[in-house]
Symmetry: C2
Subunit: 449 residues, 2 copies
Amino acid sequence: MKVVKFGGSSVASATQLQQVTSILEGDADRKIVVVSAPGKRGSDDEKVTDLLIKIGESFEVGKKDEKAYEQVIDRFREIVEELGLPEETLATIQGRIDEGIAMIERGASNGMDALKACGEDGTALMLSAYLQNRDHKASYVHPQEAGILLKDEPGGALVLEESFDKLYELRQKEGILVIPGFFGYTKEGKLITFSRGGSDITGSIVAAGVQADLYENFTDVDSVYCVNPAIVDNPKEMKYLTYREMRELSYAGFSVFHDEALIPAFKKRIPVCIKNTNNPEAPGTMIVADREDTDGDVVGIASDDGFITIYVSKYLMNREIGFGRRLLQILEDEGVSFEHAPSGIDDMSVILRETALPKEKEEIVIRRIKEELEVDMVEVERDMAMIMIVGEGMNQRVGVASKATQAFKNANVNLEMINQGSSEVSMMFGIHAEGIERAVRELYNVYFT
Amino acid sequence: MKVVKFGGSSVASATQLQQVTSILEGDADRKIVVVSAPGKRGSDDEKVTDLLIKIGESFEVGKKDEKAYEQVIDRFREIVEELGLPEETLATIQGRIDEGIAMIERGASNGMDALKACGEDGTALMLSAYLQNRDHKASYVHPQEAGILLKDEPGGALVLEESFDKLYELRQKEGILVIPGFFGYTKEGKLITFSRGGSDITGSIVAAGVQADLYENFTDVDSVYCVNPAIVDNPKEMKYLTYREMRELSYAGFSVFHDEALIPAFKKRIPVCIKNTNNPEAPGTMIVADREDTDGDVVGIASDDGFITIYVSKYLMNREIGFGRRLLQILEDEGVSFEHAPSGIDDMSVILRETALPKEKEEIVIRRIKEELEVDMVEVERDMAMIMIVGEGMNQRVGVASKATQAFKNANVNLEMINQGSSEVSMMFGIHAEGIERAVRELYNVYFT
């Protein structure tokens, strides 16, 4: 049994949903389908989820965005009509959108989540109806009915362990099951969403729950590339990747697969295949527990900007037991999550995402560091970027760091930070964001050409 | 006015004390002298401080080490006689040693400190008497009278700010003042010692207090070398170093100058000169606030072994706000100080000195990490070494890391950790201790030959 997930561009139009159907018809093992909300049909199109957020946010300024509302309904109507689906399919979708809006109007804490979830929900309703029209045994399965139980956490919802047993029961159901991605329910029955792009997570949870033989993740590229194709032309395709390699790459800027989506598949050892909806014959990229030839070669280069460094120095810091802990405590008190915290003898840096430290929090954090830790200096540096090179076995191979640092030198990019040794499969470099493209190109040159 | 400090080998015998006297006589600015305890006269000799510790520890097993006691008294007697000093000098020294022993016997909490301090105290008594014999106006100044006020801290005594004003009054005294190094007093009048080698700290505190023009630190080498001469033959001498460079080098294995001794001089901007007692004409190494040509060149390579790594991994660690803080809290609770704590996405390492984590604490710490943080894995790796390359401006120079990593590759040494970015003047590398000499030699080659 395979669990198949289709991303936003793969379900953006009636034509794309027909292509999805043909992929499902091409392999009888493709029993469970998880779908995203309709994405962009072209570069100047709007994603349905963005439109739903626009509607939700319009209530903050007190006035419903009627234009966005019409756009969403029109998107669904167009697909419903082109696929020749019954009118009630559209009515159901519109009813759920209206219910989401009503929840926002009456101030429900999860109103926005309910409204945002309507994109994926609508796709699932349409696809299951279309499959039935084509005489398949197919059914829409609501995430609550499927058993996707979540816990609400500051960084986004996390799946509860008990979901997996409940999901296993889906194996008993006949026909093709279509499940909307991106959301689930708390134990108290409250709808909550994952972080953006969370349909990948739903797919992974379902694949883990039903113990699928394979989790196929259909997107709009033939495979995962070893580097961002927007920076390097025609980069090498990756045939095999380990879970750990993919997770590190996703974290540091690889947008092809959601950062956290691998975890459930990883834990139950379900292989994942990234494939192209519009070229399903291409082999794609397999993500597995172990691959051959893990001899320390670099397999991928990820890069991401939008980081901040807080640099703190104080004489005799290394004599103060608890200094590092107290610094991190201040961040925790203020709800600020950090990425790395390298320390020297009399200094310590904290690296975090810009989104984690809005201006008003920055002021509080910096003041508390000055006053409570009595530091000699605290400085904030913005516009930092992180570049990560990834490969199993890398930490055991002499000379990997040497190649990397040579590449930065070739690119004339100064290394503000090197973090190596905490992870066994990656090495991370901090630079000023302006150098990111030069550095990535040189790294590609030294490792792949 | 210059403050001059003489180390253990410089005061090991009557001959050496005569050499010290001639150095003092050679420059009328050398007004204040800080001395260590008599050190080794040859490679199979014992240091007086080691003998005093032996005596102190013998009481733990209930029996005074009479042999060590005789050895100490004989050492002092020999010097007193050779210098032709009055018998009462030896009687005073012996009286203070006996008082230290008596304090240990009656269970005084600082008995061991009082006994250990007798080495430096004896040298100061002898040197001041000898200077008087040679018709100099000279006096012994007790650290309590001088105003060296300390605070007792777990890692060793720290000087109190008010010491500096009191020490400034020494400028009013006439003649040469001889102060024993290594110890001071709490506000309550309790004698306490610095960590081992702490006479350097006394000298630095005194130099800062009297606002000396120069703090001359006499030892047994012509200058500070850019690398450990036990690893590289005839290494380059350093003419100028900044305080920050010296502090980082001292921390990571440069034993020529005590790790913390620079701080007081640094804070008051007193230049420090490291010189050779037995070749006082050599210019030595100047340690200053700023040096010319701080263009990012590496000026020194330090190395030290005896480190441990604790490696911890847990899925979704980066989603747990407070994980790093809670890990450090466990170490703090158990009184374990750490050196570095680099973190990845789902993993974190803590690097500490072996001395900071005795076996019985290791078990508690590992158990608490497993139970309280519910980690997936925790591993302890021993026999690690740290190598540090140091140079002002290094963090602004493209290509420094590239040269260093090339050297490790040449040496066929795998880099277990790179910590760059927390300090502005250094870069630190973690390796397995077996590769330390190969790596240091190659680093010397790439930076200095």
